[in-house]
């Protein structure tokens, strides 16, 4: 019985994570509670006083899935930049991996798979905290966890494929500031995209984060439209597939040429 190569790559990441998890307790459990408390409850009170509800939801219910998926995206984006370049260039441990029977494409696949699992662990904690704060009205909310993980993979896939082609990290802060941050702020996370200027509104469909947030929001609120859910899943899966198409090639080119 052989273990699939992807799983063997994941084992390495899981072992590093297992050693660090105590240090991650703050970011895993406390951080969601702080964000939900400040945005959902603190700011939410102001929203209630003025607008009553947002798209038929309390602001806490509206913002919780947004924050959930946005934090999965941020984790995926930063984990797919510096650690990937480090593995190829600074610490070079990726070169050690491809000297074994593991192929570069399998290393890539295992890396994306792990990032999704990592995001899933964080999202599970987030959903738990959110549920305790009353921000998950529907039992379907459990499905927000895989939704966030899928969104993480949709970001990790293409970004990791890009990062491995780089010789320095100068482009990474740019991606964070001009890519990840605007997505975080304008993808229906803090306010509905219907409030965007009409010219910009159609652009939201190009944001994988928007699809992820909508998917998670459908789960946590229990209000969903099957066609929309299928579309969101399809878009995110397409991002993962596009990432994989590029990533297998860029990893192979960088690590065995």
């Amino acid at each position: 019985m052989s273990t699939p190569a992807l799983v063997r790559v994941v084992e390495r990441e899981a072992r590093v994570y297992a050693r660090l998890w105590r240090g991650l307790a703050f970011s895993t459990f406390v951080q969601p509670a702080l964000y939900l408390g400040a945005m959902g409850i603190g700011l939410g009170g102001l929203v209630k006083a003025h607008s009553g509800s947002v798209d038929g939801l309390t602001y806490l219910d509206f913002v919780a899935p947004g924050l959930l998926v946005a934090s999965a995206m941020q984790l995926a984006a930063s984990e797919s930049m510096w650690p990937v370049l480090g593995g190829a260039k600074w610490m070079r441990q990726f070169h050690g991996v491809v000297a074994t029977p593991i192929r570069p494409g399998e290393l890539y696949g295992g890396f994306v798979l792990w990032t999704a699992i990592h995001a899933m662990l964080g999202s599970a904690a987030f959903v738990l905290v959110a549920a305790l704060l009353g921000a998950v009205p529907s039992a379907w909310g459990i499905l927000a966890i895989p939704a966030a993980a899928l969104c993480a993979a949709a970001f990790c896939g293409p970004i990791a494929a890009f990062s491995i082609t780089q010789e320095s990290d100068v482009s990474f802060p740019m991606i964070m500031r001009l890519g990840v941050l605007p997505l975080f702020l304008f993808s229906g996370t803090f306010f509905p995209i219907s409030q965007l200027p009409s010219g910009l509104r159609p652009l939201a469909v190009f944001s994988p984060l928007w699809h992820g947030v909508e998917l998670a929001r459908a789960a946590t609120t229990g209000h969903f439209d099957v066609a929309a859910v299928v579309t969101h899943v399809a878009v995110l899966v397409a991002c993962v597939a596009a990432g994989a198409f590029a990533g297998v090639r860029t990893f192979t080119k960088r690590l065995s040429s």
Binding site: G23, S27, Y35, A38, H50, R177, F186
Partner: protein
């Protein structure tokens, strides 16, 4: 005058620490676009939280003035940006240069002292922060969020916030052993970022929490900036300013004592 210069040594133009500022300017010249992208960050926040969320929140009463949420949150974002920029430079970037790229080993082989290094890095962080803050204030002006002539003091106010956090950040970094310790920086920054009356007024908390928040550092900066741009002046603002100044002074004092041990063990 001399006393002031001892307190704010970085103001002495052309003095040794400026060599380090020059070095950083040169290093950044090759990646000018990273410098430029720094302008975008607070602007994105203003558009999203100020305008997007603002539409959901409506108008707020600040010291008797009814203002749009955007006008309420913008000075908070200004204070946050000043804190973030300053802490990033004096904690993460400083540690990285010290431990990994060994930038200072060469600097200290030249006739610069560890204290010059600390002062130079803070000067650089504040210079950069001043440029970003000025740009953000211009944006606020265009949006009509500067309601008072006292706003001209908002820029020095932002520098003061930067100074306060730079001192504390640098002092804290001298106690860090590895990057894992930077989780503590996050642990401190995130609650400050979220709960310093930045996104919603202090009145939203119960009385006990209000007292706690009143004692936290970023709150001082947020109140200072908000009062200045809205024109809600009173003498207690001097207390907030004094708090930030003290943070910077004590932080720098601790930092320069320890930084010698660290860089020239």
């Amino acid at each position: 005058m001399t006393a002031t210069l001892r307190i704010l040594p970085f103001l002495r133009w052309g003095h040794r620490p400026w060599r380090l500022v020059e070095r950083n300017v040169l290093a950044y010249r090759r990646v000018w676009y990273i410098f430029l992208s720094g302008f975008a960050e607070p602007l994105f926040f203003l558009l999203s939280i100020g305008i997007g969320v603002g539409k959901l929140v409506g108008d707020l009463d600040v010291g008797g003035h009814l203002v749009p949420y955007r006008t309420f949150v913008a000075p908070g974002l200004l204070a946050i940006a000043a804190m973030n920029g300053s802490l990033l430079d004096t904690t993460f970037n400083f540690f990285f240069k010290m431990k990994y790229t060994h930038t200072y080993d060469g600097v200290l082989a030249a006739p610069l002292t560890p204290r010059d290094v600390a002062t130079g890095e803070i000067t650089w962080a504040l210079l950069r922060g001043t440029i970003y803050s000025a740009a953000f204030l211009v944006t606020m002006l265009l949006f009509g969020d500067l309601r008072s002539w006292w706003s001209v003091l908002a820029l020095p106010g932002a520098v003061l916030i930067g100074y306060g956090f730079a001192g504390v950040g640098l002092a804290a970094t001298t106690y860090m052993r590895s990057f894992v310790d930077f989780d503590y920086v996050n642990m401190a920054m995130i609650p400050l970022f979220l709960f310093s009356a930045t996104f919603f007024p202090l009145a939203r908390y119960d009385a006990g929490l209000q007292t706690v928040i009143r004692l936290t550092p970023l709150y001082q900066g947020v109140v200072l900036e908000r009062s200045l741009v809205i024109g809600d002046l009173n003498w207690t603002l001097l207390l907030h300013a004094a708090y930030l100044l003290a943070m910077g002074l004590i932080g720098l004092r601790v930092a320069s004592r320890r930084i010698g041990l660290l860089l020239q063990p």
